[in-house]
Symmetry: C2
Subunit: 337 residues, 2 copies
């Protein structure tokens, strides 16, 4: 008799209330497992839908696949009641809600699903840049006032885009922006070159970049380093009539300063998919700020592909984990993403 390796216990915990796009049914899991048969046959998998399901499974779970909010809700028990836990795979790219990481048990690796959002992010980001170029936030405001006011806009070609963040969300947008003839400047923690940026500068040089930008794309993770990064003073450094797109987190921008810059006409327009707080209450000034378009944090999640693509990323990273290789989705807990 050959020795039989014990299967690895994986628990996949859905969180349908807050994150309807990740929806791992038995059927969806089975199809993902069929795409990764060698690895899947080594796993003993349970799928949970309620908090009770998670509580029942956590005692012997080695690999937990779940939404960041579930990690947040259960982080005390992860340290105390999950002695076999080795990996948490978050079904979100942004994990700002569980910063700082002092709850993460020693020896447990934390991963996100960055990469799942790229196609949608590119489509939405490109759309938002074209909306700024074509003054759609201005016309939507005029529509609220029932006013037909012709204002012509030049082509987006030749305009300058600065992007805070050059990762999963920004990269496909930067690539499209260049294809449209924009000049792209990436702003990130290091000035290392990026294939879709004409220039890259360190975050410390943000103040120098802002006056040159026709548009600012905010597409970075929310971390202690980026929280409040787009201050009132920095918005003031942008040229009159410039525009801002926020597809990151509301807290990266001083939201009141953004509204005031739009009200005064200093900024020509803005499109934001994120806000503080979410959901945005009915009395928020964002709803009525002129030349601002708000969408409800839906820009980068494709419901048709979100779950299978997340599970494919999970299998990719798990294989590398078991072989002792670098995992592309490993969160650097010192940087926060």
């Amino acid at each position: 008799m050959s020795s039989v390796e014990a299967p690895m216990r994986v628990h996949v915990q859905n969180h349908p209330g807050e994150n309807p796009v990740f929806h791992a049914t038995e059927e969806v899991w089975r199809r993902a497992a069929d795409r990764h048969p060698g690895l899947a046959r080594r796993l003993d998998v349970s799928i949970g839908w309620t908090r009770a399901d998670l509580d029942a499974a956590i005692g012997d779970t080695e690999i937990l696949v779940t939404w960041v909010a579930m990690v947040k809700e259960t982080r005390e028990i992860l340290a105390s009641k999950a002695p076999r836990l080795r990996m948490i795979f978050c079904t979100s790219a942004g994990i700002d809600r569980v910063i700082p990481f002092d709850w993460l048990p020693p020896g447990v690796v934390l991963l996100n699903n960055s990469g799942v959002h790229a196609r949608k992010a590119g489509e939405w980001g490109t759309m938002a840049l074209l909306m700024l170029a074509n003054r759609i936030p201005f016309f939507a405001t005029r529509q609220r006032e029932r006013r037909w006011e012709k204002v012509f806009s030049p082509s987006i070609r030749g305009q300058v885009l600065a992007s805070i963040g050059v990762g999963e969300l920004a990269t496909p947008t930067l690539r499209q922006a260049r294809a449209l003839g924009m000049r792209t400047i990436g702003v990130r923690h290091t000035a290392a070159p990026h294939p879709d940026c004409d220039e890259v500068v360190e975050t410390a040089a943000l103040d120098d970049v802002l006056p040159r930008a026709d548009m600012l794309l905010v597409a970075c993770p929310l971390t202690p380093a980026t929280s409040g990064l787009v201050t009132r003073a920095r918005i003031a450094r942008m040229r009159r009539g410039a525009g801002i797109v926020n597809m990151a987190r509301g807290a990266v921008i001083d939201q009141d300063a953004l509204c005031e810059a739009l009200e005064s006409g200093h900024l020509g327009g803005a499109v934001t998919d994120v806000a503080v707080p979410e959901p945005l209450p009915a009395d928020s000034r964002l709803w009525t700020t002129p030349n601002l378009l708000v969408s409800p944090h839906v820009s980068v999640d494709d419901p048709a592909t979100y779950t299978p693509d997340s599970l494919d990323l999970f299998f990719l990273n798990l294989g590398r984990f078991l072989r002792g290789e670098d995992m592309p989705n490993l969160v650097d807990t010192t940087r926060g993403y």
Copy 2:
């Protein structure tokens, strides 16, 4: 002594009230002439800004360059007071306002500036398709109601676009749509293949195409054949949740039927840059129709390039005219564009 050919009398008539994007100053003309020196030195040019300027010039004008509304306003005198007239170059692509062409004096050729709008049209059309895919008209409506309602949208990839018209406005949009992974179906007067369409059908087959389309792009000239083409019955043939973009003329679509299909939820969204009438009065139902975004007929005119590009097209066509060659911008008065 060599014989000297008499210069050709060209009158360039601006119409700044209604068409601010065509603005041919002496300086702008001189720069255009510098780009076409061989031809320009054979011309005797006057530039007009008022109706009196046109009246003073028309008696000996051989080539008139002006905005379509000026043609409409002066068409009686073109027949009676312009005995030397040989060519009218309209500084617009749409010339629906001067249909029928019974006012056109025999032997006078009529041209438009189709081609000037291509870049902006591609940017605006692509933006509008992405706005439908990302449900921006829906979110703008929710913003008016101060409601944060998450609805996730799949990628535009794989969606089906039907385009009524495959000319200057549609072609760059169709090209981008295909680059985004859409399937494109062109609808035009002939089923001849088009490089940016996966299929092309004749207008008579429109009814068969509509149920297959996730989005309908209306980007044709307004002619007797296209006026009212998108009827209530045809909108009803579209699938539930489909979207419409109109960058042609308001009168191509049954506007009340469009509004009702949006109100009932049969259509998921629409973006229109055109309306009936223009300017749209404050009491128009279009302003408040749910899931409809209105812009004020500004989609395809780039103020930075409109005049020089129009004049370059004028010189291109004039050279061909003088050499007896086909002119790309000659209007076919039997088709109306």
